[in-house]
């Protein structure tokens, strides 16, 4: 079980949280101008990084707030916790093999 540090409540068991998938996916700025390919990207395509991944979690049975974390999808180590709206912190000296972006 993951031990996740909620920015508001501190370290809690994973069972108190829900997963929100990839972080930093913005709603399309001009939805009317998107073609089918772009809609598909927005609706169905998400990064599936092997390595450090920026993702959202919500503390459902605690403060009920959303936040972002950087987590390694192989070791499951959590490398950073940061608020919604903040930029992805730069923790890695070099991008790991297979990581997106």
């Amino acid at each position: 079980m993951l031990l996740i540090s909620c920015p508001n409540c501190g370290p809690r068991d994973e069972t108190e949280f829900h997963y929100g998938g990839q972080a930093h996916v913005a709603y399309p700025e001009n939805p009317n101008q998107l073609n089918d390919r772009e809609w598909a990207e927005y609706l169905f395509y998400r990064d599936n990084t092997k390595g450090t991944f920026a993702e959202r979690w919500v503390h459902s049975t605690g403060c009920r707030q959303w936040f972002n974390i950087l987590r390694d999808t192989v070791s499951y180590d959590i490398k950073a916790v940061y608020p919604m709206g903040a930029l992805r912190p730069d923790t890695t000296p070099a991008a790991p093999e297979g990581a997106a972006k």
Binding site: M1, L2, D13, E14, T15, H18, Y19, G21, D36, R37, W39, A40, E41, L43, F44, Y45, R46, N48, T49, K50, F53, E55, R71, T73, V74, S75, Y76, G98, A100
Partner: protein, 405 residues
């Protein structure tokens, strides 16, 4: 001492070094990669081909799945491909000359709410229209087929009935892989283990080779069968897949006398159980919520499925967990696979089978081989194209197919 040992039995396959070039290279030596190579050789006469596996043969999800085989999916496209797979399962032991313990002991999908009951009855009707054997059982009939199931109303979600597919069942996964591997080898396919694909060689938008830890191999065509690692390979090739890789766990108990005659699945309380030929109770449930490539998940997922199992099968309270493990499953948003062409010329992809691709192995192999050999999909996999995420022609099997697997 050595001279006391009998001669080593025939190897099921050989371990050749990679040749400099092939007509086609299959990436991933799980069930799907092996089945694809088999049908390429058998149906399309393509024998100058190789299966490249980064680890040992069928050590990925093929080694880790709970082997449920059924075809009682709701939608026409799914019923067609999974039923075709089931028909192939019925003839493969003879065709591959290998008894891999395919056991048609039936699969029950339990209903615990009025909503479940309605959906289940609808699925039985849809299945019948598609020529898939399906029945609705009331709780008493459920009990007759599986006497150890608790159908009383003293549990949180009493059993209100079940769908039943008599021709469904289980098979011995390792033996399935070895059966395909032996036939592939006999047909001249190179099975190359410890050979990890690390990149692709392209001429413009056309793939012409694969880079591996054992050198670069030229090839006319590439078929990706990498299950949980499909996105990683697609990224190397320069395109994206609508796939998320999740841990999926399972567990077994110690060996028991035969107590469980069929396969029982419950979407609602989320567990499914069968008893392996050797006697272990084999259980699984849903994926861990987070993305993961670690071949392990969180223990609460195991705990919850055991709690559900003990409520449904009170005698399991005396069993013990012997072992738990995880695989990496490649899920799509409509819970249906992707089998077809890619944006890269001469590169094809078979992935997205997620939590339930073991049962599909023979049909995945057959249709993917057709796609690779002819450059166009077979009619069974045509609906399962990558383009469906753009056209919107999704095949939404979430819930509709009862629980995954």
């Amino acid at each position: 001492m050595a001279d006391l040992l009998p001669e080593h039995p025939e190897f099921l396959w050989h371990n050749p070094d990679p040749k400099p070039s092939y007509d086609a290279v299959i990436v991933g030596g799980g069930g799907h990669g092996l089945a694809t190579a088999y049908f390429l050789a058998k149906n399309h006469g393509m024998t100058n081909i190789a299966v490249l596996e980064k680890g040992w043969l069928a050590g990925g999800n093929m080694a880790r799945n709970t082997t449920i085989i059924r075809s009682n999916y709701l939608w026409d496209e799914s019923a067609a491909i999974y039923e075709h797979a089931l028909k192939l399962w019925e003839i493969l032991p003879e065709e591959l000359e290998y008894d891999f313990l395919f056991s048609q002991r039936g699969v029950m999908n339990l209903a615990h709410t009025l909503g479940d009951v309605r959906e289940s009855m609808r699925r039985v009707g849809a299945n019948k229209l598609n020529g898939v054997d399906a029945e609705w059982l009331d709780p008493q009939q459920v009990k007759e087929l599986c006497p150890i199931l608790n159908i009383s109303d003293n549990i949180r979600y009493p059993v209100m009935g079940a769908t039943y597919q008599p021709r469904a069942g289980i098979a011995k996964h390792d033996h399935v892989a070895w059966a395909f591997a032996r036939k592939c080898d006999e047909l001249g396919v190179d099975i190359i283990q410890n050979c990890e694909v690390t990149g692709f060689v392209k001429d413009g938008n056309r793939v012409v080779g694969v880079k591996t830890n054992r050198g670069t191999i030229n090839t006319e065509k590439v078929g990706l069968c990498a299950a949980g690692h499909s996105s990683v390979l697609a990224e190397m090739a320069g395109f994206r897949l609508p796939i998320q890789s999740h841990p999926l766990q399972a567990l077994v108990s110690e060996l028991h006398e035969p107590v469980h005659p069929t396969v029982v699945m419950s979407n609602h309380v989320h567990v499914y159980v069968s008893q392996a030929h050797k006697g272990e109770l084999v259980m699984g449930a849903g994926v861990d919520s987070y993305n993961g490539y670690g071949q392990r998940g969180s223990f609460h997922v195991i705990e919850q499925q055991m709690a559900a199992a003990v409520e449904l099968f009170p005698i399991f309270a005396r069993a013990h967990v012997l072992r738990t493990w995880g695989g990496i499953v490649d899920t799509t948003l409509d819970a249906s696979p992707i089998v077809g062409t890619t944006p890269v010329e001469n590169m094809f992809v078979n992935c997205g089978w997620g939590t339930g691709g073991f049962k599909g192995t023979p049909a995945a192999g057959l249709t993917f081989a057709h796609t690779i050999a002819t450059g166009a999909p077979h009619k069974l996999n045509a609906p399962f194209s990558l383009e469906r995420f753009e056209t919107g022609a999704l095949i939404d099997e979430h819930g509709a197919a009862a629980v995954a697997h």
